[in-house]
């Protein structure tokens, strides 16, 4: 999947809440529980299904955090892949909407 056409959305089957800057995320179906650091939280919060991942990383990560753009893009892809395998994020090559509970 070309990077400029990766769209991500938060799955609405999950539970999530920020606690002192860290995002707690839990998938009730397999009880997996994650905490996301500040950078991962920024990606998670920007996962609206409409903005390409590349744009999120460029505008939200590289702008706010002092990171190497190339490394940030690679890390973001890895993070998105991991969370999608746990059903936390939905990933598509088309814009998408989160499921409505």
């Amino acid at each position: 999947m070309p990077e400029n056409s990766i769209y991500i959305a938060r799955s609405t089957s999950i539970a999530a809440r920020a606690l002192a800057g860290e995002m707690m995320v839990m998938n009730p179906t397999d009880s997996t529980f994650f905490t996301l650091n500040e950078v991962a939280t920024a990606i998670f919060q920007a996962a609206d299904g409409q903005t390409p991942l590349q744009e999120i990383v460029r505008d939200r990560i590289c702008e706010q955090f002092d990171v190497d753009p190339e490394q940030a893009q690679a890390d973001a892809k890895q993070f998105v892949t991991e969370l999608s395998t746990h059903g936390i994020l939905l990933v598509s090559d088309q814009p998408l909407r989160g499921e409505t509970p």
Binding site: T12, I14, R17, L19, P28, P101
Partner: protein
């Protein structure tokens, strides 16, 4: 012992004073009439759908992650799915406590679609005549078990909660077996509390202390029995700096009438969400502040008890006995029957066995208790 990530976050919330978990009773109405139930089942002005949704918005804002919806019977509210939907839209982790009698295939499907984490269901016995005699609802065991099957068919996590009392104290193995067959978790609770109107006659249903010994020494119920029943280690400085539980620190309870308490088992009124913002009650209520100020070293009796580091002392039950800084006799009883070592509370009274019945005052709406 290594902390799990979740308990680490729980500790973080505790340290920061963030209410990470809230229990909301959406109604006290119920379709069962359990012999040990402490609630007044009449509706004295429950929060409306809009009021509950507003409270949920405030709880999300305050940082609440775990919500437990309970009652009464939650499905007595015709708007319960609307409330549930709103809660899930706000991305709470939701647990429901129910007798499940009103859950059929369609309701089970909807609960799964809404991403509910766990459904905790009360089962008193594997024998219909015993279970139905406790709930006073004919065929309730059959209906509850059918509902559990519907929920399990949807892949939902179910916990069977087995409250033990005199009428069913011998049935825990049968209920545990039933849980295994249904693919459900099992949890047991021997706590019986007085009724809301102060009637303590239900306490006669508490299982005698001697039977607690048997329960606490049963590895099938308590896991590693040697660890569980080990004599307490001498209390450390850390134990004496410690707090009893999360009540008022990272947990609280909201009644169907909007009253906020430190816990469902801690009837100390702290405010009402119909009159104040939740965050104002949580952060500034003098009662909440007092609850969260109490460390083990501040407890006049318990601070000198050898069990102080391991006791399950419930400050709510202690409050019901007369002082939130006092001992909770029900927990003294558990510590004693678990280890056979007398508690400070027993020693000061010259008792060789804990008293089994103490007068307690139950939770009641703030207006009624004022």
């Amino acid at each position: 012992m290594a902390m799990t990530l979740m308990s680490e976050m729980g500790q973080k919330a505790f340290n920061l004073g963030i209410p990470i978990a809230v229990h909301i009773d959406v109604t006290y109405r119920c379709n069962e009439r359990c012999v040990h139930c402490y609630l007044d089942h009449d509706d004295h002005g429950e929060m409306t759908t809009a009021e509950i949704k507003d409270v949920l918005d405030q709880l999300a804002e305050a940082g609440v992650f775990f919500i437990t919806f309970s009652g009464g019977e939650v499905f007595m509210r015709l708007d319960f799915f609307e409330i549930l939907e709103h809660a899930r839209r706000l991305m709470f982790n939701v647990k429901i406590k129910t007798n499940a009698v009103m859950i059929h295939k369609e309701e089970a499907r909807r609960i799964r679609e809404l991403g509910v984490d766990t459904i905790q269901i009360s089962v008193y016995s594997h024998r219909p005549e015993v279970h139905d005699a406790i709930t006073k609802l004919p065929h309730s065991l059959e209906r509850t078990l059918n509902s559990i099957r519907f929920l399990r068919e949807q892949g939902l996590k179910v916990t069977i909660a087995n409250v033990l009392m005199t009428g069913n104290s011998r049935d825990h193995a049968g209920v545990q077996q039933l849980a295994t067959e249904l693919g459900a978790q099992y949890t047991l609770d021997p706590t019986i509390t007085p009724m809301m109107d102060g009637d303590t006659s239900v306490l006669a249903l508490r299982i005698p202390g001697e039977e607690l010994t048997e329960i606490f020494h049963n590895p099938a119920l308590v896991g590693n029995q040697e660890d569980f029943c080990a004599p307490p280690k001498p209390p450390s400085a850390e134990d004496l700096e410690g707090y009893s539980c999360s009540a008022g620190h990272s947990f609280c309870y909201i009644s169907p009438y909007g009253d906020v308490f430190p816990c469902v088992q801690f009837p100390l009124p702290t405010g009402n969400v119909r009159q104040q913002k939740f965050s104002d009650i949580w952060n500034f209520s003098p009662q909440m502040q007092e609850v969260r100020s109490i460390q083990a070293k501040d407890l006049p009796v318990c601070s000198s008890c050898s069990h102080v580091g391991t006791c399950s002392r419930c400050p709510g039950l202690a409050y019901m006995e007369g002082s939130m800084r006092g001992p909770s006799t029900a927990d003294c009883e558990k510590s004693f029957y678990r280890t056979n070592i007398p508690t400070a509370n027993m020693l000061r009274q010259g008792l060789s066995k804990p008293r089994t019945t103490v007068p307690l005052v139950q939770i009641r709406p703030v207006a009624a208790s004022a």
